[in-house]
């Protein structure tokens, strides 16, 4: 029978080998991209990243979190790139010196989702602000992302323009991703502000409809920013630049244009018509 | 005198368990501690093994005064066997060899010693038996064997014949007598088994309430008591 000390030695060697093999140094050069959950969930990232990885041999790690956290990761230098959709926050990020080489990538829009019967009657509203006002006045349940995501920031901007701070049992800040929020909105027969991409992805799972759309204040632009290599060590700026060049290249912009879900186009490229 | 104890006391917390005015143990003799439950027999055995340290008083072992620093003296030369001995998981060999393995003896010596001792206690060929499969009597003998491998000067046993069958009791009697005769090992036993005590003891010490007393005749075997008491200094009562 094999003695116990030998067994323990065996286990320890196995462990050390495994950890060694999974150490980052041996994993090859990786490019870290922080982006929002809605962007990642839409599925477009695969289409953009796979050709890039093939061409350059660079492995791209996608970390999908809320806009707020994505920018924070950039600020801390834990990622090399951020791809978010919150123009003001992006500008602040660059102004503070955390990011450089900012480029427009693509855009789509936000929509207000709600129950089929549109209880607040926002369909014919003049603009998004009026729509929000109607929802608040009628105290119809509204689900907010509440997580400093791009969607949440846009929502807050709209409330500001309405001139109120939404509060009360009808306004629920849930701190969850877009998908979860849409499901909740569906369960509670409520309204919510959503990006078109996630809505299209979830259409078949819920009974919500687009109650308001089209206002230019619902414009949702996406920007990509490289994390400033002078703020931190270990930033992979070289590969970040390659990726930015790729994503605004005509070839990639075409991929963005042709990306469809349920037959609908989700994103509109910025540098190609 | 292998042990000399003067004015010793030991307490568990506030509860005084041992209070001995004076006690001397002769080398090479077999002693029996006899007395009601709770009289401190086990505690005394543990003190004699160095498992417990007396709070007050003096212990001399082999003429050397024992204090907090040199407990090794007692520990290295005495072994205590529990009433329900704890056998390590593994085989009889693993158990009996344990003490020797601790002392880093080489494999050949260990094998030889274990074989000899197993023969001595009448369990030859038991090397590969699993310790959990032994009967109570066999387990006690293995525990004794385990103690013997260390060739201790003093062997302390707590109720060695409790809860085991007559045959095993006789075997243990035989073993202890042999050890005492051949190796001149001092043996100190605590036991309720009056027949066994009668046969084996050279001296009987009666304990009550943590002290060694002059034995109450109706509780102790008459012969041994009168033998010892006949004009002789009854160990434990006077100097």
């Amino acid at each position: 029978m094999v003695r116990w000390p030998q067994k323990i030695r065996f286990l320890l060697v196995f462990c050390i080998l495994s950890i060694f093999l999974s150490l980052p140094a041996l994993a090859g050069e990786r490019l870290r991209l922080a982006t929002t959950t809605s962007t990642a969930d839409s599925g477009i990232l695969n289409e953009i990243i796979i050709p890039f990885e093939k061409k350059t041999g660079i492995t791209v790690d996608v970390i999908a979190v809320g806009t707020g956290k994505a920018l924070k990761l950039g600020e801390l230098g834990d990622v090399d790139l951020v791809l978010v959709h919150s123009r003001e926050a992006e500008n602040e990020f660059v102004a503070n010196g955390y990011g450089i080489n900012r480029k427009d990538v693509m855009h789509n829009d936000f929509i207000i989702l709600g129950p089929k019967n549109d209880p607040a009657e926002i369909k014919k509203s003049k603009n998004a602000i009026k729509a929000f006002k109607k929802i608040a006045n009628n105290k119809i349940t509204f689900i907010s992302r509440g997580d400093e995501s791009g969607t949440h920031i846009k929502e807050k901007q709209l409330w500001k323009k309405v001139g109120i701070i939404p509060a009360g049992s009808w306004y629920r800040e849930v701190g969850q991703g877009m998908g979860s929020v849409i499901l909740m909105t569906n369960d509670l027969n409520a309204y919510t502000l959503a990006d078109r991409g996630t809505h299209i992805a979830m259409k078949n799972k819920v009974n919500l409809v687009i109650c308001y759309e089209g206002d230019k204040s619902l414009y949702n632009p996406y920007g990509i920013i490289a994390v400033n290599p002078e703020k931190h060590k270990n930033i992979n700026y070289r590969d970040a630049k390659s990726f930015i060049n790729w994503i605004i290249s005509p070839e990639c912009q075409k991929i963005i244009k042709n990306f469809k879900k349920s037959g609908e186009q989700l994103f509109y490229p910025d540098t190609v018509k | 005198m292998i042990y000399t104890i003067k004015k010793a006391s030991f307490s568990y917390g506030n509860h005084k368990v041992i209070e001995i005015d004076s006690l001397s143990i002769n080398e090479g003799k077999i002693y029996v501690l006899f007395g009601p439950n709770g009289s401190g027999k086990t505690t005394l055995l543990k003190i004699l093994n160095g498992l417990l340290k007396i709070k007050k008083g003096i212990i001399n072992f082999e003429g050397i005064s024992i204090d907090a620093d040199n407990f090794k003296q007692i520990r290295n030369n005495t072994v205590y066997v529990h009433q329900n001995p704890f056998l390590l998981t593994g085989t009889v060999y693993d158990n009996v060899a344990y003490g020797l393995k601790l002392r880093k003896k080489d494999k050949n010596t260990i094998n030889k010693t274990v074989k000899e001792i197993l023969e001595f206690i009448g369990l030859s060929g038991f090397e590969n038996r699993k310790s959990k499969n032994l009967s109570d009597g066999e387990a006690k003998r293995v525990a004794i064997a385990r103690a013997l491998t260390l060739s201790p000067k003093v062997l302390l046993l707590d109720e060695p014949t409790a809860n085991i069958d007559r045959e095993s009791v006789d075997k243990i009697y035989g073993i202890l007598k042999k050890i005492n005769e051949i190796n001149k090992t001092t043996i100190i036993i605590s036991s309720h088994d009056t027949m066994f005590n009668k046969k084996i003891a050279d001296e009987i010490l009666y304990m009550e309430n943590g002290s060694i007393l002059y034995p109450k005749p109706f509780l102790c075997t008459q012969e041994k008591v009168s033998q010892n008491y006949e004009g002789n200094s009854y160990l434990g009562i006077i100097q």
Partner: protein, 254 residues
Amino acid sequence: MFIESIKKAFELLFTFDNEVYSIVLTTLNITAISVVIAGCFSILLAAFIDLMNPRFKKILTAFFNSLLAIPTVIIGLFVYMFISNSGPLGDFKLLFTPAAIVIGQIILAIPIITSFILAGLSKTDLLLHETLTTLGAKKIDRIKAIVMENRILILSAVLAGFGRIVSELGISMMLGGNIRWYTRTITTAIALETGKGEFALALALGFILIFLAMFINFSAYIVLKNDNLLIFDIILNKVRGKLNRDLREHDIYN
């Protein structure tokens, strides 16, 4: 939906879906390493504490018990502060790698395994200790004996630790980043799919996790029944046999 999920779980497993296998293997790899390292450390720690004087022992036992209440996200956050590029250990580039998750999970597992062992040790204690003392055991011998005598307890404790870390989400998410093909574990994948509304898929992954846990626990039970790691012995003996043969071939002995 329930039945649909179980069906889906089997589908995923047996059609060898690449992504699912990547997720499962990543999970296994990470938790195995975490639990083994945490286990070794906890065993020694528990044995050490067991040998301390009673007052310290009680204080430390209570301390480790209370560590069980720390939420996984807090552990994640705590480790994050150290291994972030802005933190003191940033140069090791550990964040968003499997190694980072391992670190967090080790911290999570140690209190559980240690507390479990300590709780179970109290029973055989005194008799074992006195026997060891009377036979002349030194401290290191005691630790060895405590471990050997409590093998089954230790295995149960390690399994409990395994259960805790394989089901945790906060640490994997925070420190691993849920990166596809790299640090996506079963739990982070479940969180992702749930967020997307893919409930059936999420449940399917959940079932896979449960099957995995059952497999591991039942295997442990079988190993325990025989009271020795028989399979382990066979493998190791084969390895030794082969090494000996290799040595002989290279004439080392002659």
